[in-house]
Amino acid sequence: MNDYNFAYLDEQTKRMIRRAILKGLAIPGYQVPFASREMPMPYGWGTGGVQISAATLTPEDTFKVIDQGADDTTNAVSIRQFFEKTAEVETTTTTSEATVIQTRHRIPEEPLTEDQILVYQVPIPEPLRFLEPRETETRKMHALEEYGLMHVKLYEDISQHGHIATSYAYPVRIEGRYVMDPSPIPKFDNPKMEMAAIQLFGAGREQRIYALPPYTSVVSLDFDDHPFDPSKAPHCCALCGAEDSYLDEVIVDDEGGRMFVCSDTDYCERRRAAGHRGAALAEDAA
């Protein structure tokens, strides 16, 4: 597949994307418009993340792709194969070995380091979109720091349900300035966003890039009397026994019986390799 340039995109396009990334890093949380290209995979399937990865990868990088926390979900496989073919970079499923990690809907459980870049796929970059559908309006609201509408929405949730009824894509405020969509990660992952790695967000269809430099302040919106709660299922992983990881619920039989397992497959495998056993495996052994 060497008919294409390294990592598929031509150098001019990569330069344009890198400029948008740099601008994004300079104004954390601000959505930078960029001339998103038509990629050979559909819009909505990670074209924003793919373009950022293409502009970020160097031949020396080691690349990891996860979707829903797992390395082997079909779209993660497809994106990994795309860069194996077009960039011939090394790929890995081990979080700590990767220098660039492209993700959809999760942040790895293992803390990332200063040598790593986390690239998010973003469907709708605008946190205010479902409160105000017009881009012309929401850009004004960001410019004027006019976030009252968002607080009213969260307040209405509390008055109606007793809780803030947002469980993923939970809005965050960056360095006390921009309200930002963290992409549809579960709110469980929000506290991890204050991290050592660079975080880059790409929305291909919506033609936006935004970014967080290392150790940027990321505050999940809340109220003094209703503090943010990064909840998860009240279980531990049935395979590795982890109590601190985000869990997927899997239906295992016709009776609706279920088990809970780590969504981060690498984390779970690593723990099992280290000898940790959850309830399901303990029974097998018995």
Partner: protein, 362 residues
């Protein structure tokens, strides 16, 4: 016992192999050639070129074959290919008044210089299934006349001479390029037309139809519809002048819309414009109507809240490659977000249940 679902890689390979087999269909039936598609499904080819924004009938035909006849999929293939092509310059604006017309009609005048040419149209066919086509029937020869080498003048030009229609201003400014810059609003007319010419035919048709039914009605006449070939010229810096690099088929529609006037200006007709690759007249007429509806602001009309007047609505939702990608992405796994919703709903139900029990007790 559940093990984490593995084997996404093999599943994808197998799916692709099966897809290839299904694409070919029954191998005892002759395979379609790209030339057959190009020649015999030419209107599909035209649509793929128009919405794919790439004039290449052979490539469009190949894309249709690869996409098993799914035209949006074929358009996607063309777009993804197009974006990898180097851009080495831009052509001079085409002159549609120099068009060699295969078809040229005006609904506003009974006869016009250059004549009314019906051309190869379905318009007056009776839509009866032609069973002769199922058996390979020979087609009768169509009558031929020598083409008139004289250029065919634009109908709206005649209205222009009398000042009856607004001037179409040439601002000499190079338009922005939708495929090289992010779409930012407000979009000027050139940019809107760019978006419309590659917008989904069905979407554009629906928008145009809504204006006819009263959602920002602007009563359009087809002042002129012409289909034919025009030369494409490009300025070659080394030569210092423009040379013809090829010829393309386009469909152009100029609509003549209800007049307006103000205290300072006498009443006159207004324009809507459609220009699309290939023989694509449904699309070109739709485009002209939507263009006209989007011009409400510059023409001093009221915004009545109609979808077709709303540039942000039309421009952000007309592209079928963006739309289909985002629509279909909901097939991808979403179990992490769903899990967080599950937990929230369970929690809310638990608390609602508890408060109901308490209310009953009180």
């Amino acid at each position: 016992m559940y093990v984490a679902v593995k084997g996404g890689e093999r599943a994808i390979e197998n799916a692709h192999a099966w897809l290839a087999e299904e694409r070919r269909g029954d191998p005892s039936i002759d395979e379609l050639s790209v030339a057959q598609i190009r020649e015999q499904l030419s209107l599909a080819v035209n649509r793929v070129m128009a919405e794919g924004s790439l004039f290449d009938p052979d490539l469009a035909a190949l894309a249709i074959k690869q996409a098993r006849g799914d035209l949006i999929e074929a358009i996607f293939l063309i777009r993804a290919y197009r974006t990898t092509l180097p851009r080495f310059g831009s052509s001079e604006p085409i002159e549609t008044s120099d068009m060699q017309c295969d078809r040229r009609i005006s609904a506003t005048f009974k006869d016009v210089p250059g004549g009314q040419i019906l051309g190869p149209t379905f318009d007056y066919t009776h839509r009866l299934i032609d069973f002769k086509l199922a058996a390979d029937g020979e087609i009768p020869d169509a009558a031929e006349v020598p083409t008139d080498p004289e250029p065919v003048p634009h109908v709206t030009g005649f209205l222009n001479k009398e000042g009856l229609i607004e001037e179409a201003l040439d601002d000499e400014e190079a338009p922005r390029d939708l495929t090289r810059e992010p779409l930012e609003l407000p979009a000027d007319r050139a940019l809107r037309l760019q978006a419309l010419t590659r917008a989904d035919e069905g979407f554009t048709l629906g928008m145009a139809y809504s204006t006819q039914r009263g959602y920002a009605r602007n009563h359009a006449f087809v002042g002129e519809l012409r289909i034919g070939t025009v030369p494409v010229e490009m300025d070659i810096p080394e030569l210092g002048f423009a040379i013809e690099i090829g010829e393309i088929t386009v469909t152009e529609c100029e609509s003549v819309n209800q007049f307006k006037g103000s205290k300072t200006e006498r009443p006159q007709f207004t324009r809507g414009y459609g220009l699309v690759f290939g023989q694509t007249e449904r699309k070109a007429i739709s485009m002209a109507l939507v263009d006209r509806a989007l011009r409400w602001e510059e023409l001093g009309e009221d915004f009545v809240g109609a979808p077709a007047q709303d540039a942000e609505f039309v421009l952000y939702h007309g592209d079928n490659i963006q739309a289909t990608g985002f629509l279909e992405h909901i097939k991808l796994p979403h179990y992490v977000d769903f899990q967080s919703e599950l937990e929230l709903v369970r929690k809310l139900r638990r608390e609602a249940g508890a408060s109901q029990v308490q209310e009953a007790a009180e």
